[in-house]
């Protein structure tokens, strides 16, 4: 397996997003909040002539604390024709997966277990590969 991964940090942990799905990584400038939406949806941000839905990955995984970073980096992905900006603590480089996806005995822990596809080995050690669709669906209470 040599899939490309976008290495990032979500809720303080190393994680990876399938890089082929990521259109670009941007630093979010201004977010227009949308009242009435669940917390993990931060709002909309414009990218060229399109509005991206900004999703806070940490909140979407079900953690209490939102993503915190000064530069507000986000990975832009498209799901069902809609564009989303997945906001993470930090986004680093793209690197290659060194192993196949493996499930970890005993699971990945709350939050991660639901939205994680499994674990992959990389240069910098094992990371959780996240499931973009699950993140966009939001935390379990809302996804249900």
């Amino acid at each position: 397996m040599n899939d490309l991964l976008l290495m990032c940090t979500i809720a303080g942990r190393d994680a990876a997003i399938p890089a082929l799905r990521v259109q670009t990584v941007l630093e979010i400038d201004a977010i227009t909040p949308i009242p009435g939406t669940p917390d993990f949806i931060c709002g909309l941000t414009p990218l060229r002539s399109q509005a991206l839905t900004v999703v806070d990955c940490a909140l979407a995984l079900g953690f209490d604390q939102p993503c915190s970073s000064p530069e507000r980096r986000a990975a832009v992905v498209e799901v069902d024709g809609h564009l989303y900006a997945l906001m993470v603590d930090s986004a680093q480089d793209v690197s290659e997966a060194r192993s196949d996806l493996v499930a970890i005995p005993g699971g990945l822990g709350e939050g991660w277990q639901r939205a994680g596809l499994g674990m992959v080995e990389t240069e910098t050690g094992p990371v959780v590969l996240v499931d973009i669709e699950k993140i966009i669906a939001g935390p379990p209470a809302l996804a249900a």
């Binding site: 201004a30 227009t32 949308i34 009242p35 009435g36 949806i41 060229r48 002539s49 809609h82 669906a137």
Partner: protein, 790 residues
């Protein structure tokens, strides 16, 4: 029909191109079944289409090829090189014929065609006898093809494109517009730079043109929709034992592709209703002295950025009596309410959910799901539908549709520090919460307002969106937007401020946001920030406002208003001195709010700049302008406009009481009572007499003045122009007036009258006027002008 033909040709060509490679491969291996299948499909499709268009030659050729190939497919015949060559020749011929059809030429069967077919049919025999014969006609044919092929290049003027690609280009252009706007803002900030501004203007103009062209690319002629209707009408009418003829008008009108798809279902429904309920049976029609064949007419035309589509039948019209009974039976209205309704109002009943005039439920219509859904669907895309009907003569449905789906006229409002867009089609009226005609009340947890005797539920947008609690809401500071939904349900939406009208391009939003059921889409403003489009029907649904407070009281209200229709509508306001005054509502064009920079006051002269125009400013006699922003009533007498400064706009009212005329004060028509209090009514006549700017004269008279005199050009010219003249130049052959100045050369060219000016005050006794004798000069100019104009 031309459009269909063009489609047919384009499709045939496309298939020819695709089958080109297949053909070569088949030639290499004639026994390849997959290739045979592909080519068989091609000739089969052509054959099918030909039957539709009535091209017997084309049909004959493709039919022959199809037969031969079918034999091969069935295994009754081996495909051999001779057959391949013969089929190839036929396919080439089909391509040629398609060119001829496009060029509008007659298709004449010639010897070659017979030979082509013979080559196929004779094939089995040729196998035994000879293997040369079939090739011959093919080579002949190709010689003939050469000139036609050359013609093809000049003929082919259209290409097919995937819609996705168009959308992508459209998006790119939208991006360019945003980038342009951004650049424009920066340029404005940087100040005037003639070297950049010029090209930038040009770029903007080009961009606007490109945008229009791209929008047109997405358009489709209504013909596409119309062409499918005759079949539908035929099927329905034969099913129902009626005879109906269809007539179309305005098929060339273009509409957004998506919009055409959106109206297809509603239109189908209207047709069903018309044939089922409207058009009578042939026997009945004859009895009523009509032609036994009913007529269904469709007429479309474009007006501005709207399309109006009229669907009319010449059937029996809407049976209002039966409709009324049904409405009572369904419990929607009481009999007394029905009795009070006008015919037009009764016709509107067909849009009520759960009503149908058909006694028996037929397979076609009459299931009571119908016109209400049609109306809701049309309104969802920003359109509207009205109905009118005459008993015994027929029914007309009038549909209004926006040109495109994606652009919606909206009102921008703000709540909780953020801007939102509301579709304008729902908005009925806007009132200030502070206006004393609005009363707030509370029933249980529901807020109500009473406005013009109507009690409507009131929602706060901030509460709906969850940004502010109703408890903390200061209702009096809000602006209320009265919303009327398709179902005729009315409610008030309280927002912090109403900003502006804006046409926005709506984009879809992510499912997670859709789930809130609060928003219908999003749009990007010129500066690139997103703004949410509020989904009013959905909010009303969630808050249980639909169908709860039915529009019955409103109906009674409407009746009452019709009775007092003679009352003069007034607009109440507070003048700058704080006193209540009124002005006839018909004079008021709109209400502007401007900052004090827009005013130019110098002594007695007062003007305001609004929308790039200078308008006379009135109302200052009552007090001084407030600091900062000021409200202005823009009044118009039909020709000229002026603005009237007020401290506050109160409300619309009706003058029902007597007007007590005051002889003392010419600035008011008189004093009347509104809600028991005296209100002076401003006299529009005096107001416009005092303040209106002289109207620009449509056809100014031409006046020649000496060209070689500086005095004439700099001092005389403005005076003459102000008196309603145009200075004639040398190209003008005749002039109405010439002004000569003693000591200067006389103006060139003829003139009907002449005024002579002299430089000295002393009367020279020659009928000339001293050049600074302003009054005499103006009087003379006026005399000539009125004399001429009369």
């Amino acid at each position: 029909m031309d459009e269909l033909l063009a489609d047919f040709i384009a499709e045939t060509r496309e298939m020819l191109e695709q089958s080109g490679t297949e053909l070569v491969a088949w030639e290499a291996d004639p026994s390849d079944k997959a290739r045979i299948d592909t080519i068989f499909r091609f000739v089969h499709t052509v054959k099918g289409n030909c039957g539709f268009f009535d091209f017997p030659l084309l049909e004959k050729l493709s039919h022959a090829a199809e037969d031969a190939l079918a034999e091969c497919r069935a295994g009754r015949r081996e495909a051999d090189p001779a057959l391949v060559t013969a089929v190839l020749a036929i396919i080439d011929r089909i391509g040629e014929l398609a060119d001829l059809i496009e060029a509008g030429e007659e298709l004449v069967e010639d010897e070659n065609d017979k030979a082509l077919i013979a080559a196929l049919e004779a094939d089995a025999a040729i196998e035994v006898q000879s293997d040369v014969a079939p090739v011959e006609p093919v080579s002949d044919d190709q010689d003939d093809a050469a000139p036609t092929a050359a013609k093809r290049n000049t003929v082919q003027r259209s290409i097919r494109l995937p819609v996705d690609l168009l959308d992508e280009v459209m998006k790119g252009v939208s991006d360019m517009v945003l980038a342009r706007n951004d650049l424009a803002r920066r340029l404005r900030e940087a100040g005037e730079q003639p070297t950049i501004d010029g090209p930038f203007e040009r770029l903007s103009a080009i961009l606007a043109d490109v945008r229009t062209s791209i929008t047109r690319m997405r358009m489709q002629r209504l013909e596409h929709l119309f062409s499918s209707l005759p079949r539908l009408v035929r099927d329905l009418s034969s099913e129902l034992g009626k005879q109906v003829m269809v007539d179309f008008e305005g098929g060339e009108v273009e509409l957004d592709r998506e919009m055409i798809e959106m109206i297809r279902d509603p239109l189908t429904h209207i047709i069903r209703n018309a044939i089922d309920h409207g058009v009578e049976t042939p026997a009945e029609r004859l009895k009523n002295g009509k032609r036994e064949i009913g007529l269904l007419r469709f007429a479309a035309r474009q007006s501005g950025n709207q399309i109006s589509l009229l669907v009319s039948d010449d059937g029996g019209g809407i049976n209002t009596e039966r409709l009324g009974q049904k409405a009572v039976a369904a419990g929607i209205y009481t009999q007394s309410e029905i009795d009070r309704m006008s015919d037009a109002q009764k016709h509107q009943l067909i849009f009520e959910p759960g009503l149908s005039t058909a006694d028996e439920v037929s397979a076609v219509s009459g299931r009571g799901v119908g016109m209400d859904v049609v109306r809701a669907n049309l309104e969802r895309v920003g359109g509207s539908i009205t109905v009118s009907s005459k008993p015994g003569e027929g029914t007309r449905f009038h549909l209004h549709l926006p040109l495109t789906l994606s652009i919606i006229a909206t009102l921008t409002v703000s709540s909780g520090g953020q801007n939102y867009a509301i579709p304008r089609s729902y908005i009925e009226e806007i009132v200030f919460g502070s206006a004393n005609t609005v009363e707030f009340a509370q029933a249980g947890a529901r807020r109500l307002i009473t406005f013009r005797g109507r009690r409507v539920p009131c929602l706060s947008l901030a509460d709906v969106l969850g940004t502010e609690d109703n408890e903390r809401c200061e209702w009096e500071t809000k602006t209320l937007v009265l919303v009327r939904l398709a179902s005729d349900d009315v409610f008030a939406l309280a927002v912090d401020r109403v900003h502006d009208h804006e046409d926005v391009v709506v984009k879809p939003i992510a499912p997670a946001i859709m789930q809130t059921k609060l928003y219908a889409g999003t749009t990007l403003l010129d500066d690139g920030t997103p703004m949410m489009l509020i989904d009013l029907p959905s909010i009303a649904q969630m808050r249980g406002l639909v169908g709860e407070m039915r529009s019955k009281p409103a109906l009674a209200e409407e009746q009452a208003q019709q009775k007092t229709k003679d009352a003069v509508p007034l607009m109440l306001f507070r003048g700058l001195d704080g006193r209540r005054r009124a002005v006839r509502l018909e004079l008021v064009r709109r209400i502007d709010t401007v900052s004090c920079e827009a005013f130019d006051i110098d002594g007695k002269r007062a003007q305001a700049v609004i929308d790039g125009r200078i308008l006379p400013l009135a109302g200052l006699e009552h007090g001084t302008l407030p600091e900062g922003r000021c409200r202005l009533l823009r009044l118009s007498d039909g020709d000229s406009e002026l603005v009237y400064a007020v401290s506050e706009v109160l409300d619309a009212a009706e003058m029902t009481e007597e007007l007590v005329v005051s002889a003392e004060d010419a600035s008011i028509e008189g004093v009347t009572l509104v809600e028991g209090k005296p209100v002076p009514l401003i006299d529009g006549h005096t107001l416009f007499f005092r303040h209106s700017a002289p109207k620009r004269i449509e056809h100014p008279l031409k006046c020649r003045i000496p060209q070689d005199s500086d005095w004439a050009r700099t001092i005389l010219e403005p005076l003459v122009e102000a008196a309603g003249y145009r200075i004639a130049d040398e190209d003008d052959e005749d002039a109405d007036l010439a002004i000569e100045i003693a000591g200067n050369a006389a103006p060139h060219g003829p003139a009907k009258e002449t005024i002579r000016l002299r430089p000295d005050p002393e009367d020279a006794g020659d009928g000339s006027i001293y050049r600074y004798d302003r009054e005499s000069l103006l009087a003379e100019l006026k005399r000539v002008r009125t004399g001429r104009a009369a």
